[in-house]
């Protein structure tokens, strides 16, 4: 495997970032509650590396979520959904298992393959690597939100035209990754697209089409803006 992928293109907002924390507080969760809730899935090494362990231990006066189901509200494709999930439930599982929004796919389930890519405040994230409770207060966009049913977003249309899909299981994730990438890089070169879309994997081998589709969609979107 090449190491030329550009991890910078993949923004995984950390639920423990100040930005996420502030929004979480407004929903009644804190860094402390996140750690309590997510401790099962977040290794101590990771937490310590982030330098947050002490902070977390110090904050003892806040509300603890879980381990049972808690009510949360997610704003998905502009619509607010209230549901009850255990704090350990990922955004991906909340979408697929609780809300029947199945465009994002579960493949590796550990932030490698990109099949679960959705947008969080416009940035591509691996939804298998974001807890549902931590996605509160953010604008979540899934592939279903790119265009009304029966219509295609410019990126989706380019995928059809360039046959950037075979079995299609990686396709929604790729479409979301391209959508987010083109927002940040409106006029990418061939080489930039190649590096920038390294966060998604395909098994059927549709990369030739994906690259063409991304470049073509960039042109169409630019023309649309002009």
């Amino acid at each position: 495997m090449s190491d030329e992928r550009d991890p910078a293109s993949r923004v995984v907002p950390r639920p423990d970032s100040p930005e996420a924390d502030a929004s979480a507080d407004s929903k009644g969760f804190s860094r402390r509650s996140f750690l309590k809730g997510a401790g099962i899935t977040v290794s101590a090494g990771v937490i310590a590396a982030e330098g947050l362990l002490e902070t977390a231990t110090a904050a003892t006066d806040t509300k603890v979520a879980g381990p049972g189901a808690v009510p949360i509200t997610l704003k998905i494709n502009g619509t607010e959904h209230t549901l009850e999930v255990e704090p350990r439930v990922t955004l991906l599982d909340a979408l697929r298992d609780h809300l029947d929004i199945t465009g994002a796919k579960k493949v590796c389930d550990r932030a490698v393959c990109g099949a679960c890519t959705v947008l969080l405040d416009g940035k591509a994230v691996y939804s298998c690597n974001v807890l549902a409770i931590a996605a509160q207060g953010h604008e979540i966009t899934t592939i279903e939100g790119l265009a009304a049913e029966g219509q295609l977003s410019p990126v989706s249309a380019a995928f059809v035209l360039h046959d950037a899909q075979q079995c299609g299981f990686c396709t929604p994730g790729f479409v979301m990754a391209v959508t987010a990438y083109l927002k940040q890089h409106p006029n990418p070169s061939y080489e930039e697209v190649t590096a920038g879309l390294g966060g998604n994997l395909c098994r059927c081998g549709t990369y030739m089409g994906v690259r063409e589709a991304a470049l073509d969609a960039a042109k169409r979107l630019s023309a649309g803006r002009a």
């Binding site: 295609l152 075979q166 299981f169 098994r203």
Partner: protein, 711 residues
Amino acid sequence: MADYHWPPAEKRFLIGKSFSRVDGPAKSSGRAKYAYDINRPGMLYGKMVLSPHAHAKVKSIDTAAAEKMPGVRAVHVMFEPGKEVLWAGQEIVALAADTEDQARDAARAVKVVYEVMPHLVSDVAPANAGKERATAGSEAKEGDPDAAMAAAEVKVEGTYGAGVITHCCLEAHGQVTEWEADKLTMWVSTQNVTGVAGEMSKALSIPAASVRTITQYMGGGFGSKFGADPWGPACAQLAKKAGRPVKMMLERDQELMEAGARPSIYAKVKAGAKKDGTLVAWISESWGTSGPQGGGNPPIPYVMRAPNRRTKHTAVLTNIGPGRAWRAPNHPQSAVITMCALDDLAAAIPMDPLDFFLKNIELTGERGKSYREELLKAAAMMDWKKKWRPRGTKQPGPVQRGLGLSIHTWGGGGHQSNASCTIHPDGSVEVNISSQDLGTGTRTIIALVAGETFGLPISAITVNIGDSRYPASGASGGSTTVGGVSSSTRHAATNALNELFAKVATFLDAKPEELEAAEGEVRVAEDPGRAMTWNQACAKLGATPIAAAGQRSLDLISSGVAGAQMAEVTVDTETGVVRVEEIVAVQDCGLVLNKKTAESQVYGALIMGVTYALYEEKLMDEQTGRCLNPDMEFYKLAGLADIGKFRVHMMTGPGYDERGVIGLGEPPVVSPGAAISNAVANAIGVRVPTIPITPAKVLAALEAASGTGRA
């Protein structure tokens, strides 16, 4: 009277052109529903308890604690105590709970006592495997290999091979099962809609007519998804016990541990030629593992068969996990063994391998003419004669560039297929086939063939597949689908059209046999002015649609293809990293129906080929007997940045089209491993004997060659 034979080139208006796949919009908008995406009211989630041991006797299974866990609704024991598990990851218990996480928690609460037994998970030669694990096949002989080898002016000896890889389908194996009284509906990720229904009926002892399987979309199979598998019936049992639908898809680690493995094949080879490049002798002893099963004889030597040869293959039984058919079973491994040995032989002569292959092209048998045309076409596309340098020609700097080639074959005859075609009075047209679209473009092909038959655009045809209630059709394996469904569709559509002609001929003051359907009209062939639109013609049916059946027609299809590929790589001799800069693929498959999806098949095969040539391998831990990389961090698939400049050329026109339709899924995936390996050898001057060609193997080969190997 419409003739069901394929129309001549000048009459084809859809066949052979490029069309976007009809289900592309559903897939690229995320609306396509795979088995994994089916959510039913009250549905539970199933998970399985897997053996942590590669070889053990199951002494006891205790599910009492698990049954009391929160959310658990049903438990089903899948393994009989007293029997032996034969690989780590074998299923012991299935259970269903309200949520996935609850099911996972409960699976951890199942207590299984094992008596651990000795295992073998390393890919060893038969001599090191023990007699009870090595089953020698019979020896095959042609001509006088020993005398020919003794007389050969140039000889090479080497060991070549390919390790075990997995299928790593992005949609894991699995299904949703739901009972309505004693009838079962199963949304399943399968290559075999018709066959799985039958398997389920047998496993559950219910009538086949009571099972309905549905696969509207499926996320990759590559040969691993033909059966109901142990988890299909287990899922149905859980649904029965719980009285609720159950979704049970394999987790990623289970998918990689046991839901698909391409057998390894290795061989010790001697090959001999005359100084002028004439190949005269081949002697090989090969072995490989397909897990706990034995294995058939691989096609070695592959395609280019020396006139004097002796081969022997030994299957080694291991606890690596069960082998499954992997896109072109046995061919990629056999190509690596054969094409790499022949490439070494050409280098020893020394001779440009292109000249060597062309000189011996008659040894490929009846497809010799195709191989010659394809090698020459590929050479022109690659600019081979200008770029090629003798093996190991030193280039300035640490990065060395090289070229390699390989040729391949496959059958690809069409499977049994039934189709029904309905022409409605309002002019709409449906084709129903219980086939499945693996991502190869099956839906689009069916619509294209029906459209061609009726003179209608692809968009006018409604294709219904992926449901066992439609007419039975074969499993999608071995590149057999396109021949099956295109010929059954053509047959059914032609039959329906002739019925339509019979109904409307009098309105055109003509005989049915004088009519044709073209350009959206039904008209008199010799007098196209006497016409009515398609819709006007269909309106003459009154209230009753036409429904006609069709079967696979052998005179519309054929089997047996050639194919040539050339790769250009760069190898960093300081890091051992190989980059595939270019591949050209020249492929025939008889009559190409949809150029766009045909080319996509070949591009996809090349990319899968880069992955198995350079990156992917099922790594086993000898101590614990477990798979070390049942995930996607360490089971590596090529990413976009690993893919260079690839070009595909489909051989069409006279000499190819008239053969009829032949399958394309397998053949182009056969050669990349061998072509890339040969390019690496050409670049660095030494052979990396096995694939995947990892940086460590490249550095080891360079060190061994320089005689300065570190301890």
